[in-house]
């Protein structure tokens, strides 16, 4: 609303004067944003321009900023990096200031997924060594300038693990102090400000890298695929996170194939939930576009037109902002009902 003011002073002042109660209501009542429970849209007069409506539909940031979220899984290759890239850019597109930290020491590839691999000159190791400042190590995305990438180390260097965890906590503090008063309110300004979200892409396993990566986090997103090996690792990692005092853990079930669930060949998302007992942040379908977007260095959520997995990631990002979870999951494809539905009716 506020930033819109600057763009359209004439039209929106009017609109704003008309709606203060409505906007206030949206701010004060945290309504769940789920698939089943579509919240009542704020009542708007029919003549409201469409652009205004779109600006109005923004998730309501809940919780203290910066929200430090670690994306972890236990098992490798289940989609942590993909999730970090896509949720990170979704958040940036929603106007939040995001710093994504690639804590995958040694095997980093978040920069590749984001297409920023040529712009990483400095990493946290150099910052610790005093060879550059923190702001020099942050790589700002050109597409969404409120998205920044920070890599922990270069492929051939080693992270001094002795105070690696502490170092990440200092990083978070330094990023928090960056804005100095002008804390983020999600209006996407380009200057340096305290981030709303710090996403940490965790390495696989429960090794020193994992311990380092989870240190500064106060919430976790657990990625799993609907297979038994990934689930066992996920359960273990959840246990470790809980032991470490991270209580806010939500899961994303990745690579879901509705066609296989239907044939009882694959665990459904609800089966996964029954085994882990974690609230669902999202269910991402298996989508060949994921690989294509990886090759392009262009995260899926930026695709036009959006794809199934891209939409699912955007929904997950929205729920993350509102600290909400899914209330219903897609189970299987329904057979087309009528003849006319064939024509999209």
């Amino acid at each position: 609303m506020l930033s819109l003011h600057h763009h359209l002073p004439g039209t929106t002042t009017n609109a704003n004067l008309q709606f203060p109660p409505t906007t206030h209501l949206r701010h004060s009542t945290p309504f769940p944003k789920t698939l089943t429970l579509i919240p009542p849209k704020p009542h708007l007069p029919p003549l409201t321009p469409k652009a205004l409506l779109q600006w109005n539909r923004k998730p309501q940031l809940s919780g203290e900023t910066p929200r430090v979220v670690v994306v972890t899984s236990g098992k490798g290759g289940v989609g942590k990096t993909t999730t970090t890239a896509n949720i990170g850019l979704s958040l940036a597109r929603l106007g939040f200031s995001v710093v994504a930290i690639d804590a995958d020491v040694g095997l980093r590839n978040l920069d590749l997924l984001l297409g920023l691999e040529n712009r990483v000159n400095y990493t946290v190791v150099e910052v610790l060594n005093g060879e550059c400042r923190l702001d020099q190590a942050l790589v700002r995305d050109k597409r969404w300038s409120n998205f920044e990438l920070l890599c922990i180390s270069k492929p051939r260097s080693k992270l001094p693990i002795g105070f690696g965890g502490k170092a990440l906590t200092w990083l978070v503090e330094a990023l928090k102090a960056r804005g100095d008063g002008t804390s983020g309110n999600g209006n996407g300004s380009t200057g340096s400000r305290s981030p709303d979200f710090i996403l940490i892409d965790c390495p696989a396993g429960i090794d020193a890298g994992f311990i380092t990566a989870i240190t500064p986090a106060n919430e976790a997103v657990l990625i799993t695929t609907p297979d038994i090996t990934a689930l066992r690792d996920a359960d273990r990692v959840t246990g470790l996170l809980e032991c470490d005092g991270i209580r806010d853990i939500k899961m994303i079930v990745n690579r879901v194939r509705t066609d296989m669930i239907k044939g009882e060949d694959m665990m459904s998302v609800l089966d996964v939930q029954e085994m882990l007992g974690l609230p669902l942040l999202g269910a991402i379908p298996e989508d060949s576009e994921v690989i294509r977007s990886t090759n392009r260095g262009y995260p899926l959520v930026l695709n036009k037109p959006p794809t199934l997995a891209g939409l699912a990631f955007e929904q997950a990002a929205w729920r993350l902002v509102e600290q909400d979870s899914m209330q219903a999951v897609m189970v299987e494809e329904e057979p087309k009902r009528g003849f006319f539905s064939f024509f999209g009716g």
Binding site: N121, K142, G209, Q273, E314, Q315
Partner: protein
């Protein structure tokens, strides 16, 4: 329409048997008879006339085509009549393609950014502009529609059945309790290299043993924790290490100058600055290249060591280089 079809059928038959003209004419007659069986005679004669006309005009066109375009000998020598339909098709395709390119060119004004993208100067997805995003609700937009009774959702043109999530808070706590029993874990706070001895006041449960040759992690640090903390929170100015290297250099230089003065060789400050330059650039390069394996002290020592070679040769010329 009927005319055209007769025409093509006839030509197809023709092209099937190019080498035996007598048999082809026979089949031609038979077939024409068969096709035109139900058509009144008047129409039939007309048809034949038109057909004749078409054939002549097409062959004329073909002749022009053949004569105007230099053709390889073997193509010209071929039976022209048998290839006629193919040539007609080719001509039509070429005409269509050229028309299409002309039309498509007319659509865009030339010289736009799109041209730069086409020439590979710009990547369309990485232009330095981020448009104001238009937030479409990912739960309710043209591609995602939840049905009225919330039992199904249409996403990207496919309809999926929805099943409600039934996880309750109690179930969550049951799982939490199960996990806390199953995985009793204390976060490791002390990282030791394998083979190191355990310090006396450390709880053995909180030790993490790092193999000495761990590919990504090391327990040895060449920089103190306090310095590292300071470095992370530094907001502006010259980074600590760069500053330190610079100062060490300055000191060496001064020491050198004093030495030189003792030796009564005069170095004026401008010379000294030029002296500093090659070393500075060397230092910058090395930090850019990230030769982190060198401990800082060795790096600092190395530089001036190289350096001392220069004055020992003793000449002003050398120094200016």
């Amino acid at each position: 329409m009927a005319l055209a079809s007769i025409w093509t059928v006839e030509f197809r038959l023709l092209s099937v048997h190019p080498c035996s003209p007598s048999s082809s004419t026979r089949t031609r007659k038979i077939h024409r008879f068969r096709i035109t069986n139900g058509i009144p005679k008047e129409v039939l004669t007309r048809t034949q006339e038109f057909q004749q006309h078409c054939t002549t005009s097409v062959s004329k066109f073909h002749h022009q085509l053949v004569t105007s375009i230099p053709m390889p000998q073997f193509l010209v020598n071929l039976n022209v009549g048998s290839n006629l339909p193919i040539w007609v098709c080719v001509a039509v395709v070429v005409l269509f393609a050229s028309l299409r390119t002309i039309f498509s060119r007319k659509k865009q004004p030339p010289g736009s950014v799109a041209d730069l993208v086409r020439r590979g100067q710009l990547r369309s997805d990485r232009r330095g502009i981020s448009r104001d995003p238009k937030f479409e609700d990912p739960f309710d937009n043209p591609l995602v529609k939840v049905s009225k009774n919330k039992s199904s959702v249409e996403m990207c043109g496919k309809v999926y059945r929805l099943a409600p999530v039934t996880l309750t808070q109690e179930e969550q706590t049951v799982h939490q309790r199960r996990r806390s029993r199953a995985y009793q874990w204390k976060r490791p706070t002390v990282f030791l290299k394998e083979g190191d001895s355990v310090p006396p006041d450390v709880d053995p449960d909180t030790i993490r043993w790092i193999p000495a040759n761990h590919p990504f992690a090391t327990t040895s640090t060449d920089i103190g924790e306090d310095f590292a903390h300071k470095n992370v929170s530094q907001k502006s100015g010259v980074p600590f290490r760069v500053q330190a290297e610079h100062e060490a250099l300055q000191k060496k230089l001064e020491a050198l100058q004093n030495e030189e003065e003792l030796n009564k060789v005069v170095i004026n400050p401008t010379n000294a600055k030029e002296l500093a330059r090659p070393f500075n650039s060397h230092a910058e390069k090395s930090s850019l290249n990230n030769q982190l394996k060198d401990p800082p002290s060795s790096k600092l020592d190395n530089g001036p060591n190289h350096f001392e070679i220069a004055p020992s040769t003793g000449e002003d010329q050398n120094l200016k280089l």
